[in-house]
């Protein structure tokens, strides 16, 4: 009896500990399904049917490997990724790399505002109203410090992704075709499918996520002895992302691809939810896309400003005054308002913007991975927590494959 009680107490304690450490991985993965994510997954399903579905499995493995490294570096060193890059690679590498990261993240910020604009266009609201209001809202939320309380609402609204899973079943897809596609990975060697593949990789494993995840782990002050829980959290997050991504692709394949309509606006993409929501599908999709866009729009510029200031040694933090941390607030504000401003240009193609930003993510990713691999194998930094040999082999293969795909894509793209 006492034995049982003991076990129960232990389990309970384990669960509590898990919940207290849990968070960074799950939150990161939900932010990851942002406007660019929803757009890219929708496009992948509606243009290529089930044929790219298989790629999500290796992407999930790669996602876990990379996120696990971010988390491990955060736990062991207690420092952010740009901090480590600065201390180990010096000023030059840091500055040029951060420039690339800022530009990439800026692309994502633009995509989030494209998401806000296109989701509310469904309700016939002009982007000239929705985007400035959205930008101001996001800016104020962080500067006024109300973000933490709003975060829970965002997270809760992520249950929206369940709609895709239900709709996916209701659309009665051909499961045998799906099974066949998963079992026999195939890739046509031309710019369009390669670009889509890079987009899928880039949106699922966005470079900014690695900085963000590591920073969250550091902020949560996770100790080395609690690392296992953090790893569980990351694993769970990776699975959640992939399942959601898979169902968006699958549902779009079963509905839009089958009907043969190309996606040009959010209204077209919303058709995937028709089996579940009928004529309310547009409203449901608009809600989901808006939530995803706002969620990421409030994290991305902030996380970018943090990572730059950390690497450069500038003061940062929303508890500082503007005069104390001018670079931090300046960059944060610039990213938001410039990003929103670009969407306000007339005739801005919203869906392509969301998609292209993810391809850029994918092209920058191998560079970030190489940097991370060098850092994590540094004995001085990581002590006994460097990568194991097998893990290293797997990681370097991932980098090589990614680099090869990117090179092939650029080659086909330039050749026309």
């Amino acid at each position: 009896m006492t034995g049982l009680k003991e076990i129960f107490r232990h389990r309970w304690k384990g669960l509590l500990l898990f919940l207290s450490v849990a968070g960074p991985g799950i939150i990161t993965s939900n932010v990851d399904n942002d406007a660019g994510g929803i757009a890219t997954y929708s496009l992948a399903g509606s243009r290529f049917g089930y044929s790219l579905l298989w790629s999500l499995i290796p992407i999930m493995v790669a996602l876990f490997i990379i996120q696990e490294m971010s988390a491990r570096m955060g736990v062991v060193t207690g420092k952010g990724l740009s901090d480590l890059i600065r201390e180990r690679f010096g000023v030059k590498v840091t500055v040029y790399l951060l420039m690339a990261v800022v530009l990439t993240n800026f692309g994502n910020v633009i995509a989030e505002f494209a998401g806000i604009a296109s989701s509310l266009e469904i309700f016939h609201l002009s982007k000239y109203i929705t985007v400035p209001v959205g930008a101001l809202l996001v800016w104020l939320m962080v500067v006024k410090g109300t973000y933490r309380s709003v975060e829970k609402i965002f997270l809760f609204a992520c249950l929206f992704y369940l709609a895709y899973i239900i709709s996916g079943f209701l659309a009665k897809p051909d499961w045998s075709v799906i099974g066949h596609s998963l079992a026999t990975p195939r890739l046509a060697l031309s710019a369009a499918p390669l670009g889509m593949l890079i987009g899928l990789v880039g949106t699922t494993i966005a470079p900014w996520m690695q900085f963000y995840l590591q920073a969250s782990i550091v902020e949560k002050n996770v100790l080395v002895k609690n690392y296992k829980q953090a790893r569980m959290d990351v694993l769970l997050g990776s699975i959640v992302v992939t399942v959601v991504a898979g169902f968006i692709v699958l549902t779009c394949a079963a509905t839009i691809f089958k009907a043969g309509i190309p996606i040009e606006t959010a209204k077209d993409a919303a058709e995937a939810l028709r089996p579940l929501a009928g004529r309310y599908c547009s409203a449901l999709f608009a809600f989901g896309l808006l939530n995803a866009s706002l969620f990421a729009a409030s994290i991305l510029p902030l996380s970018t400003a943090f990572l730059v200031c950390e690497g450069m040694g500038w003061e940062s933090g929303i508890n500082k005054k503007f005069s104390e941390a001018p670079q931090f607030y300046g960059l944060y504000t610039l990213l938001i308002f410039l990003g929103a401003g670009i969407i306000l240009l007339p005739k801005m193609p919203l869906f392509p913007v969301m998609y292209i930003s993810q391809i850029i993510n994918g092209l920058v990713l191998p560079v970030i991975m190489v940097i991370m691999l060098i850092l994590i194998n540094n004995k001085k930094l990581m002590g006994e927590y460097t990568n194991k040999k097998f893990y290293n082999i797997l990681s370097w293969i991932t980098v090589a494959v990614l680099a090869a795909i990117c090179t092939a894509y650029l080659f086909f793209l330039l050749r026309g």
Binding site: T77, G78, K79, R86, E87, G90, V91, K92, T94, V95, V218, N221, L223, M312, G313, K380, G383
Partner: protein, 435 residues
């Protein structure tokens, strides 16, 4: 801005004359980044390698460079500074015969490497109580020595290292007629933090000395911003009293982690050193078993105080109060009361008032420092005391206590039980700390 002004003032005393000479053409100040990668030549003119690092022995106000370091076949080698003939031009020349004196690098307890331990790393500016990142290191050549005088944390240092300084200067000269200012911090206010994990533990006490100049509140802010390993090292280097004061200033979550990283013995020593009410707050956040373990290892008087305070629920007057106060009996003289005051080591805000009780410990009145200093030493306390008392009960709401403080503007309020017996004291400081 402020810091640069402050530094230039600090420098004025010592190095103004030197600065003048520098302007006149003598290269006296150097940037470390300019030396990095310079070719090293033997006296014969044969190249020996490229400069990888400088080794510095700490201890002096502006420490000397003691060795040059090169990297050859993946290993680091050092050569003592006196072997360097001269530094001028783009090359470093060695004295005859010294090129064979290179030996494997070893870094002692009180030594640091400029590139490995300082450049691009975080340091604490103990004057401004801030953390800065080092963009460059400023050296002064006082023949035949080279000394470490400043660290550069400004935009100019960054641009210099990127190789953009000339272009940017030309541009800003043309556009604004102005250049970004040099931001230098004098080495006497710099505490380096980073170091190699293999040498880390040896160095703890020797090299973190400058941090102890900081006020515990500033130290706590700085520790909060650092990584776990630096936190642990800094915290371990503090003496018990400073550690206790610093811990009190940290945010509650971090207090727990800091205490967990210390050995059980040190943890309980620190708790004894803290104000009992602060120690109790900290302990009450710990799981039951850990709490008990720590309390058991604490010494008698503090242990009893803490155990008593732990009984009060959070949000009550009891949870705010401390056991640190002075009380005298009615029949004792003011002279005796003054003697009590002299003996105490309690913080000033706990002894702003002295409390007067009867034989049963019931609170009868209060004495202030003014009574002790101005009144007749032989008069009994019971006669001189102020009998208009404002008291709180241990179980009253913390908000009520705050209201009383606002109304009466006292430095402290006594806590009594249902029989009016004095059980504790709440100071203004404790109330301010309350959220």
């Amino acid at each position: 801005m402020e810091q640069v002004e402050r530094n230039s003032q600090a420098d004025r005393s010592g190095s103004l004359a030197l600065k003048k000479r520098q302007e006149n053409g003598g290269q006296l100040f150097h940037y470390f980044s300019d030396f990095l990668g310079r070719g090293i030549l033997a006296a014969s003119g044969k190249p020996v390698g490229r400069l990888y690092d400088f080794k510095v022995r700490l201890g002096e106000l502006f420490p000397k460079i003691t060795a040059i370091v090169i990297k050859r076949r993946g290993k680091h080698w050092e050569l003592d500074w006196p072997s360097v003939e001269n530094l001028s031009g783009r090359l470093i020349r060695l004295r005859p015969g010294t090129e064979l004196a290179f030996r494997p690098l070893s870094v002692g307890q009180d030594e640091i490497l400029l590139r490995e331990d300082l450049l691009d790393k975080q340091v604490v500016d103990t004057f401004g109580a801030k953390i800065e990142r080092v963009n460059d290191v400023h050296l002064l050549s006082v023949n035949p020595e080279l000394r470490l005088v400043h660290v550069d944390y400004g935009a100019r240092g960054l641009l210099r290292r990127l190789g953009w300084l000339r272009v940017v200067d030309a541009f800003t000269d043309w556009l604004f007629g102005y250049r970004p200012q040099e931001r230098l911090l004098s080495w006497k206010h710099i505490q380096p933090l980073a170091s190699d994990p293999q040498r880390r533990d040896l160095k703890t006490n020797v090299t973190l000395r400058k941090l102890h100049e900081l006020h515990p509140s500033d130290l706590a802010d700085i520790i909060e911003e650092l990584d776990q390993e630096s936190r642990r090292r800094i915290f371990q280097s503090l003496d018990l009293e400073t550690a206790a004061e610093t811990l009190q200033e940290m945010e509650p979550k971090l207090q727990l982690t800091m205490l967990e990283t210390a050995t059980a013995e040190k943890a309980s020593d620190i708790l004894e050193e803290m104000d009992p009410d602060e120690a109790t707050d900290l302990l009450s956040d710990l799981p039951q078993d850990k709490q008990q373990k720590l309390i058991r290892t604490m010494e008698r008087p503090s242990r009893e105080k803490v155990e008593e305070l732990l009984r009060f629920e959070e949000g009550t007057a009891g949870s705010l109060m401390t056991k640190d106060y002075i009380s005298v009996r009615e029949e004792q003289t003011l002279g005796q009361a003054l003697e009590e005051f002299r003996k105490t080591e309690l913080p000033l805000d706990s002894v702003a008032y002295l409390y007067v009780t009867d034989a049963e410990g019931r609170l009868k009145g209060v004495l202030t420092l003014r009574h002790l200093l101005l009144c007749d030493r032989d008069a009994p306390a019971g006669q001189m005391m102020n009998t208009h008392l404002v008291t709180v009960k241990a179980d009253s709401d913390a908000k009520e206590v705050l209201e009383l403080f606002k109304k009466y503007k006292f430095m402290a309020l006594p806590v009594v039980d249902e029989n009016d017996r004095l059980t504790g004291l709440i100071t203004l400081k404790d109330v301010i700390g309350q959220k």
